[in-house]
Point group: C2
Chain length 429, copies 2
């Protein structure tokens, strides 16, 4: 018995079919917004990833290695964004470059619900635009996806890296040494609650903690009102208001100064999408990152993007009953034969495949009842019964297992089967 | 500038779109034959792959490694078949288990045309059936795929491991020490020609070489006739004839005793599909492998399968002009605005996305001409011009770049745009 390494997963058919459906839907939405696909390899030189993700990732999480046959150091990609930047600098596509990718990344983390060592993300990024309409488009996609999947209790929390910088680093004048600690504490708000945040902040910045707690408790218009008092931040407020103005639907949006993420990385708008239940962390996150491309191109090239954590989305969706593992096969018809009709059934089956139907015919030489059992176990909706009596009348019987109907069809009109089957399957979704 | 390691590739949008189309079509055909998808991870324990692929693979080709954070030895999958066997033994799905997978494998080979260090294969296997209808189904799929893609000058060469064993090991009584050399020489026939094969064989088996060359020059019915003289191989001949009898189309099939492949691995029917031009090696190969599953399950479980070398298929198809890199985007409509109509254009664009159209709107604040240029460069077929005058009449202009037509459409009837665009795009394929 060979097992899989921890954090890696097999996807049996019924799970794979569900995942394919979810991925297709997400991909469809990316296309709606004018994004196009690219693909980069799973493996990069370690040098390409080095220095891009911070200490913890580099020392604990990146799958990096040498082979017995080479001195080069390789790494499996840690996310899709650094490979995107590398791709951009190598290929220099026209601007704006709007690409999506739904593919795997690798992190050597402790596995838990929604967190695996090999996992898919669905990324969408816009390179080249420094205008609020590009930030708005990212948020509109996120909202579109959650709506499309019928998530109801979700929120898209937004903030701006520049607001944080202004408030904490300029206005409250917290020094470099302390600021990281302050942000780390604020970031724990969801987990530990406001009282604990206050206490921990007090240990770092003393009395200032009252003020900070007051500020990070502001929401939505209060945030804008609070910041609007300061002329120095007016440009950023204006930009932020322009984003808000271009959102399709503001009902799920929450402006919240306690949102802190990827501080070394993001330069403007940041967001996270969360669901109230289950407690599984954010299902999507992203923002503006105007500095990353410079590491690869030596030019100032603005960028904004987001990522759907599809593993969490799927795990949450299954738990919420939004996603159902209910399709066991793509097969539409099970062709049933008797001992003396096998060859005819085989030929009819292959003709139906040519016409465009997904057909199964038993390869185990099982009897009638076992062939039926297979179709029922797999939940194949249609049976095509090829019997001696029907063949003598140049016909076959199509049985719809859902409606229990049996329809006699002439072998000369196999296209009728196509029409009936496709029609009924389409109308059942 | 960060480069990609040798043998690894980026796929820019137009290549990725072509590949998606090819992969979808192959997947569609697998579904037609009643195959369903599963997925296994990229990474397995090295122990799982060890001892399955022969010396060369183990000592030179497998991407195997340790991480700085763990003592476990991992490997990237070398093919899709061993992971399938591991999956089967872990999950024990119902029989017959017919699964397909289109995914990447990794081999540290010397890169050349059609050969990369990370590459896709499209695999399809049937586990559990020991009947000729399962072998026939594998060959029918291969034929179906090449037909569907309009390859014309292809051949599917078939042979049987049991024929080789009977002729060379039993009938000609070549001993174990020499037999591997003999097979290796025969396998080079395509590359070095019959005269060189004869000479090399002579060095190993002396006078027997004449006899061998005579036998391996037999084709099709000659093979069957030759073997039919021997009672000892009648069961295998019978099985083989049953396979032939169940093929949809024998016109591309060639029975050829010089086909030698995977001798440690295959146990019955073996095949290779090749094109006459370009000289790129086999585009598909496979056969019956009734021993592999035993390594994982300790039970005798028959299996037969094949693999489409999609990288070679694509490279050959492009060279032959069968596959064209001609689609640069999935975007169907480019919404064009003027300085004073941006907000209206933005809203209309988002409505069209909700209706189901793939729409692009400029995020760079470029002028009218540059917006048009973008659409032309990307070959986006439809423009939707949102002008002040049209807006005052509550309408917009839909322009079909291919027919040069301009159609005035009321903003209240945006569904008309959906109908027109989808209809015209569908009819243009």
């Amino acid at each position: 018995m060979y097992n899989l390494p921890s954090g890696l997963r097999d996807f049996p058919t019924e799970i794979k079919i569900l995942r394919n459906k979810i991925f297709s839907k997400i991909e469809e939405i990316f296309k709606r917004f004018g994004f196009d696909p690219i693909e980069t390899p799973t493996i990069e030189y370690w040098d390409t990833l080095k220095g891009k993700y911070g200490e913890e990732a580099e020392n604990k999480l990146i799958w990096r290695f040498k082979l017995p046959y080479s001195d080069k150091e390789y790494a499996l990609r840690y996310d899709q964004t650094v490979p995107l930047a590398r791709f951009f600098s190598n290929h220099r596509p026209a601007l704006p470059f709007k690409r999506y990718v739904i593919d795997k990344s690798y992190r050597y983390e402790n596995p838990q619900r929604g967190r695996y060592r090999e996992f898919y993300q669905a990324d969408f990024d816009i390179i080249g635009s420094k205008n609020p309409e590009s930030d708005a488009e990212i948020l509109n996609i996120v909202n579109f996806i959650f709506k499309e999947f019928n998530f109801s209790n979700y929120k898209i929390i937004i903030n701006d890296r520049e607001f944080l910088r202004f408030i904490f680093e300029k206005n409250l004048n917290i020094n470099e040494e302390k600021i990281k600690k302050v942000y780390t504490i604020i970031d724990k708000l969801d987990k530990i609650g406001i009282e604990n945040v206050k206490r921990e902040l007090n240990n770092v910045v003393g009395e200032l903690s009252d003020k900070i707690v007051e500020i990070i408790s502001l929401k939505n218009q209060e945030v804008i009102d609070y910041l609007s008092k300061y002329e120095e931040i007016s440009k950023e407020i204006n930009y932020f208001n322009n984003i808000l103005d271009l959102l399709n639907d503001k009902s799920k949006i929450e402006i919240n100064l306690s949102l802190v993420r990827g501080l070394d990385y993001y330069t403007g708008m940041i967001y996270e999408a969360i669901v109230e239940k289950p407690k599984i962390g954010s299902l999507s996150g992203g923002g503006r990152y105007d500095n990353l491309l410079k590491l690869f191109t030596n030019e100032e090239i603005p960028a904004v993007g987001g990522s759907i954590g599809v593993e969490r989305l799927i795990d949450a969706g299954i738990e919420l009953g939004i996603f159902k593992i209910d399709k066991k096969t793509y097969t539409e018809i099970c062709v049933i034969y008797f001992e003396d009709t096998f060859k005819d059934a085989w030929n009819i089956c292959n003709k139906l495949r040519e016409i465009g139907l997904n057909c199964y015919i038993d390869l185990m030489r099982r009897d009638f009842n076992k062939q039926i059992k297979y179709a029922v176990d797999k939940d194949i909706r249609f049976l095509l019964i090829v019997g001696k009596k029907e063949l003598s009348e140049n016909s076959v019987l199509l049985q719809d297992r859902y409606t229990k109907e049996r329809i006699k069809i002439s072998i000369n009109n196999l296209e009728d089967i196509y029409r009936i089957v496709k029609n009924r399957i389409e109308n059942s979704y």
